[in-house]
Symmetry: C2
Subunit: 304 residues, 2 copies
């Protein structure tokens, strides 16, 4: 065991990533960071907290905890079609253990480097393990994707394979290791490139962190519209029948759900995109299978 | 007891402050906020976490917890000479209790309104009580106050009466109610107006959240200089002799310590300002009393 680290040494050792970016005038180490927003663009800001045992299994590796804490925030920026730029880390942990911090910092840096986002500030405190990240990005005026702009007649698309994080979690909770799907749970891939490709072309978007049905429901309410979703069109690549509860109610997927004008070609992207339904004037979310409307729950992850 | 609140209802009821500000294009309620930074200014960003029982006594009123969580962040913006603009709230709490949330939201709003800062986003999660706020502001290019810009010959000033939060905490920990000083502990006043008055005129500044001696030490190290401090000049308005440990090592004061060119008049301000020493070329922090150097500890609040 190494000696406990003072906060300032901890920050210096693990969280002072070299920052040679022209948009960071002053990074970690002063009372606040000084950042240069791109002229003519809006600032995009969000924050999300992960609590140990609630948002990730207690036995999750430090690398993956950090990855996920950053990924869920970058996913929110992606859903706004933002260019991700900077983030702040508020890390609360029971003890400053050298090996854990080294792995945590590696995970954070791996995802940050992948998307060229800069750690510019934060706070470390002692307490029950919890991570809050604030992500900051930018988007040209008029090109952000809000959840309130869906139009009647839009096609509804979803990226990736919602439900796989839930399948992995169920396996972990049953004592397994999550198998090949564990990375869906531990290392979600924020869809930043997809968000940029949708800029100014999609009508509305949301990230489905709390479950496809619930988050699509938020988009519909915000837009004052309804939708029909085709159960047989929901993406699924596992063996056996579709697990509709996992696909529709499972959370933690961090895929994008967006609405798209039906006469426009889709953007080129390396993420699987699946048309799952259509926006309609009548309020509410309806599910169809083989020409019949089916009754399915529309709830998702509940924070309280 | 009222029924538990769903997250979305909780946010709608307590944290959807009306926001008619021209610099908020989209506030609480989407994946992220859309904000309009002032043209030609730098963005100033910081975040701080308060953990129950560590950063405030367990019996602290919800109103005061919220006030303090926002105040400590605005204090960091003040130390950079930033105009405070927006904040995000990450609130982790064991249960969604209506009365507690109402009081918490009132405290948050009271301080936010006082400084015209807007709540633009955040996250609510269930877990041990902890609050992380990210504060965002702006400052014209070249006018931010960093801790690294102190110059030899500068006078060193401190605002207010450092040590009073520590005196209040000592009383609370001994079973008292903190008396007249309790508000120093529970409702610190971020020195935003002072920070603006120092813009482009002071050389260096820091907020003394971790104790005057330790934080001044950070400023000296960052600037590559040293200082002499006059013990008899340290501000004190209590009866009896100065409590040097409270003044120099006590944390939680959220006053500003800044260095100022000796031949310049001080700005007009309604906060008490006291000259306590001078910046010198020789590294290290030295204390003097009656013409003699005295040996005093230079440590402060330790986070780990």
């Amino acid at each position: 065991m190494s000696a406990p680290l003072a906060e300032f040494e901890l920050i210096r050792r693990y969280f002072s990533f070299a920052s040679a970016s022209a948009d960071v005038c002053l990074g970690v180490g002063d009372d606040a960071a000084l950042l240069r927003p791109p002229p003519g663009e809006l600032l995009v800001a969000c924050c999300d907290t992960l609590v140990a045992g609630r948002h990730f299994p207690i036995n999750t590796a430090a690398f993956d905890i950090a990855w996920k804490a950053l990924a869920v925030n970058l996913s929110d920026l992606a859903a706004m079609a933002a260019q991700a730029r900077w983030f702040l880390l508020a890390l609360t942990l029971p003890a400053a253990e050298d090996a854990w911090l080294r792995d945590f910092a590696s995970g954070l840096r791996a995802l940050a480097d992948l998307h060229a986002v800069q750690l510019v500030g934060g706070d470390t405190t002692r307490g029950p393990l919890s991570i809050t990240i604030t992500a900051l990005g930018s988007v040209p005026v008029g090109q952000a994707l809000c959840r309130s702009a869906a139009r009647v007649g839009d096609d509804i698309y979803v990226s990736g394979y919602p439900g796989e994080a839930t399948l992995a979690l169920a396996d972990v909770l049953a004592g397994g290791d999550g198998g090949a799907l564990r990375s869906c749970l531990d290392r979600p891939q924020p869809r930043l490139q997809l968000g940029l490709a949708l800029r100014g072309r999609a009508h509305a978007a949301i990230d489905i962190s709390d479950g496809l049905a619930q988050d699509l429901g938020h988009l519909l309410s915000a837009s004052g519209v309804g939708a029909s979703v085709d159960i047989d069109a929901l993406p699924w690549r596992q063996s056996g029948q579709r697990d509709l509860a996992a696909i529709l109610q499972g959370g933690d997927d961090y895929e994008l759900c967006f609405t798209w004008p039906p006469d426009q070609p889709l953007p080129a992207t390396d993420v699987a995109l699946q048309r799952i339904g259509r926006i309609e004037a009548r309020a509410g979310l309806r599910f169809w299978q083989g020409g019949c409307e089916v009754d399915l729950p529309q709830t998702g992850y509940q924070h309280f």
